[in-house]
Symmetry: C2
Subunit: 556 residues, 2 copies
Amino acid sequence: MKVTCHYADRAQRGPEVAVQLSREDGDGTRDWWSARVHMPTRRLRYQFEVVAADGTHTWFSERGFERAASRHHIGYFHYPYNQPADRFVLPSWLPGTTFYEIFPERFNNGDPTNDPPGTEPWGGRPKPRSFFGGDLAGIRQKLGHLTALGVGGLWLTPVFSAPTNHKYDPSDYYTVDPAFGTNEDLKALVAECHAGGIRVVLDGVFNHSGSEWFAFRDVREKGEASPYKTWFFDIKSFPVDLRRVNYETFADRLPNHPKLNTADPGCAAYFLGVGEHWIREADTDGWRLDVANEVDHRFWRAFRERVKAAKPDAYIVGEIWHDGAQWLEGDEFDSVMHYPWRDAALRFLSGDLAPSAFASATVGLRHAYQLAANPGLMHILGSHDTARVRTEIGGSAARAAQAAALLLTAGGVPLVYQGDEIGMEGGEEPDSRRCMIWDEARWDRRILHTYRALVRARRERPWLAWGSFEDAVVDDDRGLYAYRRAESGPLAVLYGEGLGQLWVAVNVGERRSEVAIPLGNRAPRAVVDLLSGEGVGVEHGAARLTLAPGDAVVLV
Amino acid sequence: MKVTCHYADRAQRGPEVAVQLSREDGDGTRDWWSARVHMPTRRLRYQFEVVAADGTHTWFSERGFERAASRHHIGYFHYPYNQPADRFVLPSWLPGTTFYEIFPERFNNGDPTNDPPGTEPWGGRPKPRSFFGGDLAGIRQKLGHLTALGVGGLWLTPVFSAPTNHKYDPSDYYTVDPAFGTNEDLKALVAECHAGGIRVVLDGVFNHSGSEWFAFRDVREKGEASPYKTWFFDIKSFPVDLRRVNYETFADRLPNHPKLNTADPGCAAYFLGVGEHWIREADTDGWRLDVANEVDHRFWRAFRERVKAAKPDAYIVGEIWHDGAQWLEGDEFDSVMHYPWRDAALRFLSGDLAPSAFASATVGLRHAYQLAANPGLMHILGSHDTARVRTEIGGSAARAAQAAALLLTAGGVPLVYQGDEIGMEGGEEPDSRRCMIWDEARWDRRILHTYRALVRARRERPWLAWGSFEDAVVDDDRGLYAYRRAESGPLAVLYGEGLGQLWVAVNVGERRSEVAIPLGNRAPRAVVDLLSGEGVGVEHGAARLTLAPGDAVVLV
């Protein structure tokens, strides 16, 4: 099949330029074809000519598939105007950055004097209401661990006053929880992080408040007379009643998570203020937005304007577990948490998806959003909201390291959940929120080495965020999968083409296998595995090596 | 094939509800299946079970097509939250309303004292720079014609000060052009229209200004020192030069259409002010937005907020000649001019599309936007920017009346371009802008009767804007096409189900044909053709009649 794009300036009747497309990707159901066009002006009309193997011509345009080409500008596809204001633009510091998620109550107890009543000894088995005393001072004491790991960004789950250990039920959006420290501690933490080259993103809980928040307390006390009654979503009757839950809440009628009505101008103004405040006050670097998909789009657009006005390169990441295209049009978020990638990766590592099925799934995901959004997508293997990756895929340290290799050689911005890098295990919440282990004797050295080596490799190769992705070996029978990443591809237009390339190979099968990884037409004469430091033989343009089950190599 | 939707509240682990889909529409390439679901709460996750004729099961979800169902909430499609703030809501007065486009310079000269120098006698052959003296007073004098026609909305092409006859090169956005009258005349016209039940929409030229507009004159005079230099798009060097055209313009370097930079805060503020001003000042009912697809989306979102704050049921229609989905997400426009529908209709009426191809094309168009947008789409057969419909399809009065029958029984909001209703002809601009004919002896009575009868029928049947659409006869050999419109279908959820129904049949072929139109399972015993007033025989649930080439009937 031959596909040609015919295009011209929309406003001109002159001749059209023809450029041939090439098939870029395919997932078995769909193929993606692409070509680069040079826009003579800022307006484009275009249509496609498709010539099948048997010579039959079809034209594809907004009219659908037709025998004849569109001759006037009606019928064509249009890219009406290249408007800078509408472009999807990411913070320039993202490529090369790996993020790290901290759940403060379980990271490190740096200041026992602020422990809440009933604090249990560090390392106990977490129950839904346990407190272990983690705090901001604890994070500051362990910045060395983060620097050694090499991460460039922290996402802190909520740090503001709230009754629970997770603090997703805020009672005060302007004050750090006393059990975590003070506002000054937060500022000092951010400053110290910045000094170490680490950016800090806070968790914005704007879908719901806690039931102890001043505005909800006012509604509880004054009922219909409260000026804040319109700040909450769908209160069914007054007085509001925490037992009957006669108001809308987050999730399944959680009384201490009353849903906010961000369409109310007063409510919106309050939270836009919060969004701006912490960036200006503590110099934070953006927001991870909790339950972002249940809040109205108008609020998020205004939120972006306010946050970007305060810090143009702030990073805004929405918690979206499903397709996030609606939020990634350039006017709302920079990124979403890439749960669909996690879903595919875990199914692959657990044997539910064969290598070819994983390759197809990830090809689809790389085409799910506009290309310019891909380098910002927050790739994850898990979070405080899921079972831990190691546990999910069966508990093996080798498989957990393999998972890290996939995460840290994927596109976008990888996120490491605290403890994954030392091989911690944990099932569904609250087990996924065990206290961070600081006894280094209990760390898994192989896993930690994998994280450290690849986080560093990624800093040195920012193009991993945006570069091309090609399958090299897809062997379902033996469970072998290898791919090439390279400093090229469509986004090189934005980021600049380069010579960087690397190859990743994993054995998710059950037996030891020899594999030959074709290195392509820029094959180096010798390659080294970044994880073992060992050279790998290259013969006839292919790297030849043996992979045990659970093995991963990253060749440069 | 059997398709079942399995759905549940996203936040609950409980049982799923299953509802079977039915095939609603198809265009040969794609099929549309639908079902109505009852949301127990405001959050939905869903997946589809597809059972093929041979019994094989497939599941369709965000993961794609898989053998097994998704079991956790990852993998499902999600409708994350039913947010009132994000709903697409149209002005409630649109159903039943037919719009009429007035190009004031060519509608009627009501006040010869304000004629510009060089005004030619009414009815001469228009050249690009001709003036014939049409004005607002002329419109007021002819409101009787519009009332008799039955239209409920006027779109006036630009009325503000500008050198040209079309006034798409504004020199003052706050003053009615002196050759058209005064600001007071505009207010009086709007008030008189309102008294007669007609709404008035003005033409907003916010993509570019004229070269005589104060801000561009300031840039011409002061060059880089002008505070307005950032209000224009991409000035390549100073001084700006109308001969070299060293600045971005509308279309192909039109020097008197310098492109505005609506991403500039000062420029945006100015035009948001204009958008609000005329609604408050003259009580106008909305805006038709010129070259809407080349202006940035952020400006349009802010524009909508300002306009709707001034008049919540104002109607905002973008001039978009191609797919307008980007602008119809609920946060920008209410509507776009439906040029793709015109394209299909003219090709059908000219014999370029067979009845089946027209049916397919219009099925696709009815699914191009979210369903809630359909009742507002401004369906057109032409405008001041195109050749006239009668001329486009060959000049026959019968065919022009047939075109009117299609337009006025389509969904959405029909727009009649001044003069089409009396059978005027005209080729491409400037010929499409001939003076309106007021000598009734020269009016085509058949065409006028068709417009009057169907505009009235539409007022009486507001459900034509949103109701269902089903093919009744599709006969490519004989060029026969008939369809049923009914007060039902998916949008009945919003507008209310009813018993209304009508049938339309056209003969676009070359010979006289007998046709039996199946009237469906609510077939009336007798039907009348709204156009001829004659009864049509019904036998075995089908209306039987003979259609000559060019004939159209509308049966009730």
